[in-house]
């Protein structure tokens, strides 16, 4: 017996669809014992009506015509369950998003709703009760990335007593935040607030920290991921190195200073930065003399701990995890190739905002004194250019970096604080200061710190008599502006960090068109990736400032804790299943399965058949199509159910013409 309930959704549906008429049509459909039009099916009284009918009319199947199943399918499944029915004996008809809201002709919309109702009634007849499967989950989480997002997530998860492995590809955790001088809008010192957290990660009994490591491959599924972690060779024994820095001091080979964003230089063997965690040296072979044909073994000779091992090899560790947090952060937009009129990097005194952070920082290459890179002079006129590689369709970066306005304001303020007689100019497009105390801070940058804000894009930067001329338009005044600057700072936008796309593929999750990893729902599931058991923390999901990152990472941690706290997972039963008597044993299903969810089995008579590992199957149904005898079938989306839908929705009715087919 089928119950049919159509929702008026106030007037959202009933304004266009004659719900009474659809209900009357449904009442005449085979097996429909009750057909009712309800004002709000999702409301308590609405659900009560359904539950009452289930009990009173002994319904075994329910069709609800209402909003999108993506909205309320879960709600109504629970309602069925509470009324004693298997939750999967439900079929929803989407007559709001896909009918009443997109049609204005009431008779057309009503006819369409009736067609859809007929198809749902035919389909629900083929539904079978499905039971959610429970599988044991590994009680350990993997956090990929050791920036502030990863640190926060790891600490929160570890605090709940769940072991965490943190994988960081660079020699130290800390990420981009460790390079910042001060943070807006409070101007507190970035590394002062970050360093204690970094140390806590290192010392936490529930956290295993693997630096110089990357995720090589990911197998398995929510609750039971198998992850290969590649530990790169650094020629330094982490156990032995004490971080004394003798090797770095004595190393004769210069190397770029990554931490200082390319300003200044470092050594082939070095410690990433003074506050690095772990405080361990690492050797970059590409810059080392020994690895470039020279006989130098200086570091090995001088190391008091005997930690240098030139023959150290890469290793791959395999670990099991129940959940994975991606916290891979962002990279600053590489502007040089795309902005030829800004000099393409030929002018040393055009620096990026991150380089400027290092110039401002007491731990930076200039010891916290602002000096321009070309001649070390203290600049007087500093021009900031906003939105470089941000909100710029012409370079393929339509997105807002969401932090540029604020950090530029902060850097302008810090410029005046460092050099009181300096003048900062900011070319901006719009001032975006949406956070708490942000607008006040941005305003102070103008009023108290005398920063001049010019609304407009910079057209050109070129050198003239030892200065840089910045030409732009002041769109408010409608004038061309020309400023002679000593130093130009480009506020570069944020890209997903290099390799994020590749990692996403390994994790089987999607990236948006800007390369950021996609959350499952933009509002309701902002930290869940579309792959079960994978969560997103921080800027890998989209540009964020520090408070938003910390909040996002905390949320991801909460989801991981929620998932792993119980030790077992409930998985959707809408997975593939094999009817063994129909299986021809060709294993085409196994060949197409993206998740390795099909295994070979043998029947007692020796016949080989396919078998689905229910907890690995994710329910895509690719196998269903690949199976020639139709032995493998996706629960909830069987051929039978889909054919029933096709046949019924197309049943010739008044006013339809049909294509005659063979």
């Amino acid at each position: 017996m089928i119950g049919f309930f159509i929702c008026q959704c106030g007037t959202n549906i009933s304004a266009t669809v004659d719900t009474g008429k659809v209900a009357a049509a449904a009442a005449a459909m085979r097996g429909v014992a009750v057909a009712e039009s309800i004002q709000y099916t999702c409301s308590d009284p609405g659900q009560a009506t359904i539950a009452e009918a289930i009990r009173g009319k002994r319904l075994d199947r329910v069709v609800i015509a209402a909003c999108s199943p993506r909205m309320h399918e879960a709600t109504f499944r629970r309602a069925l369950e509470r009324a004693g029915l298997n939750p999967f004996m439900l079929e929803m008809v989407n007559i709001r998003e896909q009918c009443s809201w997109i049609h204005s002709d009431a008779s057309e919309a009503t006819r369409k709703a009736t067609d859809l109702a007929r198809k749902a009634v035919a389909r629900v007849r083929h539904h079978t009760p499905l039971l959610a499967r429970k599988t044991a989950a590994v009680r350990r989480a993997l956090v990929i990335g050791g920036g502030i997002a990863g640190i926060q997530a790891a600490l929160d998860i570890a605090a709940a007593g769940i072991p965490v492995t943190m994988v960081e590809r660079s020699p130290s955790i800390g990420g981009n935040m460790a390079r910042l001088d001060k943070t807006f809008p409070t101007l507190d010192c970035s590394s002062c607030i970050l360093a204690p957290l970094m140390v806590e990660v290192k010392q936490h009994e529930n956290i295993e920290l693997l630096v110089n490591s990357e995720v090589d491959d990911v197998h398995g599924y929510a609750g039971n991921f198998e992850v290969d972690i590649r530990r790169k060779s650094t020629c330094v024994d982490e156990e032995k190195c004490t971080g004394c820095m003798i090797c770095q001091d004595k190393c004769p080979a210069r190397a770029p200073d990554d931490f200082n964003a390319g300003l200044g230089s470092s050594k082939a063997i070095s410690i990433a930065f003074p506050q690095a965690v772990p405080l361990i040296a690492s050797l970059r072979k590409e810059h080392c003399r020994r690895f470039n044909g020279n006989k130098c073994r200086l570091c090995q000779k001088l190391c008091p701990a005997g930690a240098i091992d030139y023959g150290q090899e890469e290793a791959v560790l395999r670990r099991s995890f129940g959940a994975i947090v991606a916290a891979t952060g962002y990279d600053h937009y590489d502007w040089k190739a795309s902005y030829p009129t800004y000099g393409m990097g030929m002018y040393p005194d055009v620096v990026t905002s991150l380089q400027y952070e290092r110039l401002l920082s007491a731990s930076g290459p200039t010891g916290g004194r602002i000096r321009r890179p070309s001649d070390g002079a203290e600049p007087r006129q500093v021009v900031f250019v906003s939105c470089v590689g941000s909100r710029d369709e012409s370079v393929g970066r339509p997105q807002c970096c969401s932090v540029g306005c604020m950090y530029t304001a902060k850097q302008a303020v810090l410029t005046r604080e460092h050099i009181p007689d300096s003048q900062a100019y900011v070319f901006y497009m719009d001032m975006r200061a949406g956070g708490k105390d942000y607008e006040e801070f941005a305003r102070r940058a103008q009023t108290r710190y005398g920063t001049l804000f010019i609304r407009g894009r910079v057209g050109k930067i070129f050198p003239r008599r030892g200065k840089l001329v910045v030409m732009g338009t002041d769109t408010l005044a409608g004038d061309q502006v020309e400023i002679e600057a000593d130093l130009v700072v480009l506020a570069t936008g944020l890209d997903a960090s290099a390799g994020a796309g590749e990692l996403a593929r390994k994790l089987n999750i999607a990236c948006d068109r800007n390369g950021f990893m996609t959350e499952e729902h933009p509002k309701l599931r902002p930290v869940e990736a579309a792959s079960a058991g994978v969560f997103l923390a921080g800027a890998c999901q989209g540009p964020k400032d520090i408070p938003a990152t910390v909040a996002h990472a905390g949320a991801a941690a909460a989801k991981v804790i929620g998932m792993l706290a119980r030790g077992e997972l409930e998985a959707s039963p809408m997975v593939a299943a094999v009817t063994e008597s129909r299986c021809a044993g060709c294993f085409k299903c196994r060949g197409v399965c993206p998740f390795g969810a099909v295994e070979k089995a043998r029947l007692p008579d020796g016949r080989p058949v396919a078998r689905v590992i229910g907890s690995v199957c994710r329910g895509c149904g690719i196998c269903n199509v690949a199976c020639p005898p139709g032995a493998i079938s996706l629960n909830g989306f069987t051929d039978k159910e889909l054919i029933a839908e096709i046949v019924e929705v197309l049943k010739p009715d008044v006013g339809y013409r049909t294509l005659d087919f063979g």
Binding site: M29, R30, V32, A33, R118, V121, V647, E648
Partner: protein, 337 residues
């Protein structure tokens, strides 16, 4: 005897088609030499040189027939199912059937139309059969697949026919076998003749005596059957082409959520699905089991139970077998075993 001149054949077909659908062997368009019995339309060429790929049985036992249709409706909580049984009304005539085809009809008549009423009497079959006129073309030639001479009357078999046409110079001698045949022969298209019946074809023979018991004796020798059937692809052509095979399957099929019907369709014991049980068990899992059944049913159980061999020697299963199997080889092998 009566005589029908060659040029009067179209006139006869025309006359017949005024009150019945006339079926005649014709080469199917777009094919190289596929001959089938198909409804004859004015002016169409009748192919009497080549044998048709299928027998005439579809006129009495169609490949598919709807036994009834149903329509479901529901109003005010009351369910209603209307059943509409479609009894065949059709009048049909078959022209240029062969003696082996006609005999096939006679064999099936005995099964489907037990006139004594003691056994089964099939309404659908009866309706079709009683509306059918069988005009048989006697064989004066044959090919190497024919083996009707293995049976008592050979090409001279008259069972199942209403009228038999014997090839003669300039036309056909006509011999009425039934009352309906007599009515036909009385038509003005025929004239009296004193010609002698021509000598009929003598086909290859296969010895059938004692075969029924022999098949019983070696029934359990599965290795033998595996060897005998090893080339068999297990398709249903031989059964479907056979004038005497009559297995069918009845099933209900929904055409929509509210309408559908009950169908009777040909089925063949060469199919795995034929004996598939819902438990999953299949008593005839291998082609060998199925091949054995087909042979034994034709030449052993059926004759032992009903006194009639389920074979008329038409040779279709030999001519058309995609695997090139020859039923007679199997019979010889059984005898030699």
């Amino acid at each position: 005897m009566r005589f029908l001149r060659e040029e009067n054949i179209p006139l006869l077909l025309h006359r017949l088609s005024e009150s019945a659908t006339v079926w005649a062997p014709q080469v199917v368009r777009d094919t190289v030499n596929t001959v089938l019995f198909s409804p004859w339309l004015e002016g169409a060429e009748v192919e009497t040189g080549l044998y048709s790929m299928l027998s005439a049985k579809e006129l009495v036992l169609p490949a598919t027939e709807r036994l009834f249709s149903y329509r479901y409706s529901q109003a005010g909580g009351r369910e209603k199912i209307e059943i509409n049984a479609d009894a065949p009304q059709e009048q049909a005539a078959i022209f240029a059937a062969r003696a082996c085809d006609a005999k096939g009809l006679a064999v099936m008549d005995a099964l489907f139309l037990d006139r004594s009423g003691a056994s089964y009497n099939d309404g659908q079959y009866r309706a079709r059969r009683s509306g059918l006129t069988v005009i048989t073309l006697a064989c004066t030639t044959c090919d190497s697949a024919c083996f009707c001479s293995s049976f008592e009357k050979g090409a001279a078999e008259t069972a199942g026919s209403d009228i038999i046409l014997y090839p003669a110079t300039g036309g056909y001698l006509a011999e009425a076998v039934s009352k309906r045949g007599e009515e036909l022969a009385a038509l003005d298209l025929f004239r009296d003749s004193s010609l002698e019946k021509p000598e009929l074809a003598r086909t290859a023979k296969v010895e059938l005596a004692g075969l029924g018991q022999r098949l019983f004796d070696i029934y359990d020798d599965l290795d033998f059957w595996r060897r005998t059937a090893e080339g068999c692809l297990s398709c249903g052509y031989c059964s479907y082409a056979c004038p005497a095979c009559h297995c069918f399957n009845i099933f209900d099929e929904a055409e929509s959520d509210r309408t559908g019907g009950r169908f009777r369709c040909w089925d063949a014991c060469m199919f795995y699905a034929y004996t598939q049980e819902s438990s999953g068990n299949n008593p005839r899992p291998e082609p060998a089991h199925r091949y054995r059944n087909r042979l034994a049913h034709k030449f052993s159980y059926y004759p032992l139970n009903r006194g009639e061999i389920l074979c008329t020697g038409c040779g279709r299963c030999i001519r058309g077998c995609p695997a090139g199997l020859d039923l007679r080889d199997a019979i010889r092998a059984v005898r030699a075993r």
